[in-house]
């Protein structure tokens, strides 16, 4: 249990809040690159701030406040200029730095526009995503974690906007025991209700779970019943990259990567992005249907509004949402298997103190030498994926990727490589 004050402190994301200030030290995905391929703007809400991502006619990409300072109209419905975005209402134009470059109906000699600047933020592109940074300057480096920069990779991006605070989503990732029940026993119950039989590696009992702090967050490890202590699940595990990423490992084993990113939209909303990269041998020809980074929405409700609980991520989503928009931690009853959750909360608290003391929180990178290719600890032989590539890929949200059948057909016959 936490006090109400503590719960508020760890869950608030807005500007000027304790955790909001910590969160502003990290880069966040704001769009898939493909979203600006045919469009010029995307409305973005991040850390409680309303923004617009835009591409101008010169190909510059900017992230600025959503509202035009003139009369408050949304620049998300603006249109592109050679060097910026124009407000649809009166044509005021703003470049990627937030400078007002044109005010069409003001007198030619007016200096008004020179005295006007809107909030603008840094944007970078990496791995098929645009990333934005809202924090204090100078901005740290955009971390080049393995899966985002692995070469010659097939990439897929699933996403869903969920009506929950980001912390309860992250807490799910430091709670290994839930996999045995939610993705094991409950999953089998759902399947049995439908008269379906399924082989399900997730049902195996956890004998031990452990958590280690490391340079970028927390590594969680587990030992299942019947496993020896030299198994990858126990000796390596996989990490939670503080504050908002779970690097769970791709279903293809070595050379495949999967990130679950819980991007705080505001206190009660999280943009969940599932990012997969399947690196293949450099001399392997990737089929046309898998060359582009596919972007797809992950559904979590059926046509009747009931939760979709027949796949792993849908089961998790059901739990996060039914906990309430912001989980009430003043009334919870944590047990011994929740120690990872406790550690994550303590890590949050520690980072709040660091930022308030003027220091960088954990995992902020400023040394380019450390940022060429960050290989995260990742078990290569993972028990949970032992049902085989096709079975497990179809049991995750990847089942909704438009080209999933092509991926399964292609990948099962390819040599896996370590980048």
């Amino acid at each position: 249990m936490l006090s109400a004050e503590e719960n508020k402190k760890i869950t608030q994301v807005g500007p000027g809040t304790s955790m909001g200030d910590v969160l502003r030290h990290y880069w966040y995905p704001v769009a898939a690159t493909s979203e600006l391929q045919h469009e010029y703007t995307k409305k973005v809400r991040l850390l409680g701030e309303d923004l617009v991502l835009f591409r101008d006619l010169s190909g510059n990409v900017g992230l600025v406040q959503e509202r035009c300072p003139h009369r408050g109209v949304s620049l998300a419905v603006g249109f592109p200029d050679e060097d910026g975005i124009r407000c649809a209402y009166h044509g005021w134009c703003f470049d990627t730095k937030g400078n007002c470059t044109d005010q069409p109906n003001e007198p030619e000699t007016s200096t008004f526009k020179e005295r006007l600047k809107i909030d603008s933020y840094e944007v970078q592109e990496m791995g098929g995503l645009y990333w934005g940074y809202l924090g204090p300057k100078p901005a740290p480096l955009l971390p080049r974690f393995d899966g985002f920069v692995a070469k010659h990779a097939i990439r897929m991006i699933g996403h869903a906007t969920l009506p929950v605070n980001w912390v309860q989503v992250m807490e799910n990732s430091v709670d290994p025991a839930h996999t045995e029940w939610l993705h094991g026993h409950f999953h089998n119950f759902v399947k049995a209700q439908r008269g379906e039989d399924v082989s399900n590696a997730f049902i195996r009992q956890h004998k031990k779970i452990a958590f280690d702090e490391f340079e970028y967050g927390i590594v969680k490890r587990r030992l299942f019943e019947g496993q020896s202590e030299d198994s990858d699940d126990w000796t390596v595990g996989h990490p939670i990259v503080f504050p908002y990423i779970l690097a769970v490992g791709g279903t293809g084993g070595e050379g495949s990567y999967a990130f679950q990113m819980r991007i705080p939209v505001d206190d009660e909303t999280t943009w969940h992005v599932w990012y997969q990269a399947y690196a293949v041998a450099p001399n392997t020809e990737i089929p046309d249907s898998l060359k582009d980074v596919s972007l797809y929405e992950v559904p979590y409700l059926d046509e009747k509004g009931e939760y979709l609980v027949d796949y792993i991520d849908g089961q998790d989503i059901m739990c996060w949402i039914t906990q309430g928009r912001i989980a009430d931690r003043t009334d919870e009853k944590l047990g011994t298997t929740d120690r990872g959750i406790i550690l994550f909360r303590q890590m949050i608290k520690e980072q709040i103190n660091k930022v308030q003391a003027g220091e960088d929180p954990i995992g902020v990178i400023r040394d380019p030498a450390k940022n060429e290719f960050i290989e995260l600890p990742l078990e290569k032989k993972k028990h949970h994926y032992s049902d085989g590539f096709a079975a497990i890929t179809n049991r995750f949200q990847t089942r909704f990727a438009p080209n999933i059948d092509d991926l399964i057909a292609f990948y099962e016959n390819q040599q896996r490589v370590k980048m």
Binding site: L2, E6, L334, K349, N353
Partner: protein, 77 residues
């Protein structure tokens, strides 16, 4: 029609309106752990209420447990 159910013992447990853990000082350095930079969280281990503590002042991290009965052997975790 109003439904009636049998009262359970849990119904008689009065929940605090605003939960605040009853740990006041760091057992290692003696600093006030109530101070909002430290971290105290209560969880349960069998019949024990455990207070996980992290002191921002000395960075001690540990757990505080009230011992109700002295046992000769410990239960496996």
């Amino acid at each position: 029609m109003r439904s009636h159910r049998i009262e359970s013992p849990h119904d008689r447990i009065e929940k605090p309106k605003s939960y605040v853990p009853d740990i006041f000082f760091c057992p290692y350095c003696g600093s006030s752990i109530k101070e909002n930079k430290s971290f105290v969280l209560e969880y349960w281990n069998s019949d024990q209420n455990v207070f996980f503590c992290w002191c921002h002042s000395c960075h001690w991290r540990g757990e505080i447990v009230r011992i109700n009965q002295i046992k000769a052997t410990e239960i496996d975790e």
